[in-house]
């Protein structure tokens, strides 16, 4: 059915455009009148916050790339050149450097919200899976970005992490050579990481678009985990949630700015202020804080291959969460036992993070093993079994009834 779109925009210029490319109609439908459950709490801000972060990271990153040199002999000094000589270079770089951490904070809370309120359950499985793809892409991007300043931790972090692939029998060493573009982390590695670090955020935008497109097919979940039963249960996205998201964005920017202006290096490692030196290994090689839980899982297993598999498995297991959880109730608010066990899982994730920051000896080995055990048990045992055993609280009749206390109005 070719032909012009029937646009009802009063402005003739906009109408002319919209008739040929109904992008304004689409925005109006998806972000203007889009029916959104009326009972979101502030946890529903975090998707928007992640979007804002992605945009700010790309904008600052483009300006950094104008002054950065992906060359092992120049990279470290070019970052200092940005910090010292480029106009407001320190600001752009500190926004970008701390933005990585902000991105993970926001995304982890966004994922927690999905887990707590059961946003991964039918019909939102594909939406969830696309989210896990976004997480993986983010991790790859962040890892390669951390290598670019070419400090000691950049270099040795890259060496340790890429070497993990060598654990796979037969093909392992070949994968590592392929990643490095040679036989150690060196110029080809830095150059390709720079290229990929610039590419992947745009791939991320593509997957984020699919994530949002899938969201707009099935609609948003909400804190009650019950579907809207009619127009009285929803509000148009604009102005209600544009306004509410704006509040969250402002608060988020305060937190981000606090790091940028008053503690720009507090999340970093002093070793990265030393230029990469392949002949001198730092005493402790520690990844950035957002990777510490996975690092702890890796080190909790005495066998390298098994450790590597468990580390990758800790993310991959998220892909099948929609099918592991057998409970028909979405929101943990109505699951009295599961609710606490999920928070225990959050605790296990945090404990693993603390373990990852400490040397793998003494109590940290024991704690990281307990943490890793619970991390997996939660998904592989508790989710399938508890879903069948647990007796959920009774669900409210409708969103409006739960919010206002009034029974569902019949039309």
């Amino acid at each position: 059915m070719a032909g012009l779109h029937k646009s009802d925009l009063p402005n003739p210029v906009l109408n002319w455009i919209d008739s040929r490319l109904p992008i304004i109609t689409m925005m109006q439908k998806e972000y203007g009148v889009f029916p959104t459950p009326r009972n979101f709490n502030y946890f529903w801000n975090f998707g928007a916050l992640a979007m804002v972060t992605l945009i700010l990271m790309i904008v600052t990153g483009i300006f950094l790339a104008m002054n950065y040199q992906p060359n092992t002999g120049l990279a470290f000094d070019s970052v200092q050149h940005i910090m010292r000589d480029v106009n407001y270079g320190w600001l752009i770089r500190y926004v970008h450097q701390n933005g990585g951490s902000m991105f993970f904070i926001v995304t982890y809370i966004h994922i927690f919200r999905g887990l707590y309120y059961g946003s991964y359950k039918a019909p939102r499985e594909l939406l969830w899976i696309l989210g896990v793809v976004i997480l993986l892409l983010m991790m790859a991007t962040a890892f390669m970005g951390y290598v670019l300043p070419w400090g000691q931790m950049s270099y040795w972090g890259a060496t340790v992490i890429t070497n993990l692939f060598s654990a796979f029998p037969a093909i392992g060493p070949k994968i590592v050579t392929l990643l490095w573009g040679g036989f150690s982390v060196d110029q080809p590695t830095l150059n390709r990481f720079f290229s990929l670090h610039y590419l992947l955020p745009f791939v991320l935008i593509g997957v984020v678009f699919l994530h949002v497109a899938a969201l707009h097919i099935v609609g948003s979940n909400n804190p009650l985990g019950i579907e809207p039963k009619g127009p009285q249960d929803t509000l148009p996205f604009h102005p209600y949630y544009t306004a509410k998201d704006s509040v969250g964005v402002c608060v988020f920017l305060i937190v981000w700015a606090a790091f940028v202006f008053f503690a720009p290096n507090v999340l970093g490692d002093p070793n990265n202020f030393i230029e990469a030196n392949p002949l001198q290994t730092p005493a402790d090689i520690v990844p950035e804080w957002y990777f510490l839980p996975y690092y702890a899982i890796l080190r909790s297993v005495p066998n390298k291959l098994l450790g590597v598999c468990m580390m990758f498995g800790s993310i991959l297991v998220l892909f099948v969460v929609p099918w592991l959880d057998t409970s028909r109730v979405r929101s943990a608010r109505f699951r009295p036992t599961y609710r606490w066990l999920l928070l225990l899982w959050v605790l296990s994730f945090v404990v693993l993070g603390v373990c990852g920051a400490n040397k793998p000896e003494g109590i940290w080995v024991i704690l990281s093993r307990i943490g890793a055990l619970y991390y997996f048990a939660h998904f592989l045992l508790i989710m399938p079994i508890l879903g069948k055993l647990e007796r959920p609280l009774s669900l409210p009749e409708s969103i409006t009834q739960a919010v206002t206390g009034r029974p569902l109005e019949s039309h």
Binding site: R84, Y240, C250, I254, F261, L343
Partner: protein
């Protein structure tokens, strides 16, 4: 029907558990860190939310660096032009730069030549390269000091501890040849001989040149070289955050008004 709405209690419980764990973490790492003694915790002009480097101290520290540290330690991130950030005028910077002899490219015969420094020049390096430095220094490499404050945990106190931590080795402590005992260096054996002694330099402003005073001044200078944007950054931060708080207030008011009919 009463539904358990509030996430507050469980989150609080989790937070308490994490705090306990972190405390435990600190206790253990504190006990394990025998080899690197914790340096004294000093007060610095650049400490805290609004602290910025004391420029008078940093200027004195630049003098200490130039007359003492620069014999062995390079600062290749620094240019003489950067010294305007310490409060020197352009003419003063020109004069300071001219007192140093630095490489000035090639002469007409293609041979490397040297000449008086200009503001555009990097700080003079004591050695042409790492090999030359190691050859002259008994195999040890004096680290570049441009970023040293950021490159060590608790940098200001660490550098201050090293500079003031020289002492006679305790009886029975086996020292290697050419090494010096230092209370705050990991392993207590440092290749650098004690750089600062009372009266080592003469300050123009008459400040007494005790080891403690010179160490403080040079740490302030090194903090500035590692973080030259500090004053600008913190001043901008105050304005940005005040603006964002205001914006949050306005945005929240708008949100309340929009939602008033729904609640």
């Amino acid at each position: 029907m009463r539904t358990p709405r509030c996430l507050f209690a469980p989150v609080l419980a989790a937070a308490l558990a994490v705090t306990g764990l972190l405390a435990l973490s600190h206790g253990i790492s504190g006990a394990a860190a025998q080899e690197a003694p914790k340096p004294p915790s000093e007060n610095w002009s650049f400490d805290g939310l609004f602290g910025i480097p004391d420029l008078a101290a940093a200027q004195r520290g630049f003098q200490v660096y130039s007359e003492v540290c620069s014999t062995c330690h390079a600062m290749h991130q620094m240019h003489y032009r950067d010294l305007t950030g310490l409060g020197f005028t352009d003419d003063q910077v020109k004069a300071i730069a001219a007192t140093f002899t630095v490489p000035q490219g090639l002469d007409d015969q293609g041979q490397p030549k040297e000449g008086p420094g200009t503001p555009a020049n990097q700080f003079r390096s004591p050695f042409p390269n790492e090999k030359a430095a190691r050859a002259a220094m008994n195999g040890a490499l004096p680290p570049d000091l441009s970023l040293i404050i950021n490159a060590r945990p608790d940098g200001p106190n660490y550098v201050y501890g090293i500079l003031t931590g020289y002492a006679d080795a305790p009886a029975g402590f086996a020292m290697q040849d050419g090494m010096n005992y230092n209370r705050f260096f990991a392993g207590h054996q440092i290749a650098m001989p004690q750089p600062l002694t009372d009266g080592r330099v003469t300050y123009i402003d008459g400040t007494p040149t005790t080891v403690d005073q010179m160490a403080r001044d040079v740490v302030t200078f090194l903090y500035w070289t590692a973080n030259p944007e500090t004053a600008e950054r913190k001043a901008m931060g105050v304005r940005v955050i005040l603006f964002l708080i205001l914006l949050t207030g306005v945005t929240y008011a708008v949100k309340r008004k929009i939602w008033a009919s729904v609640h």
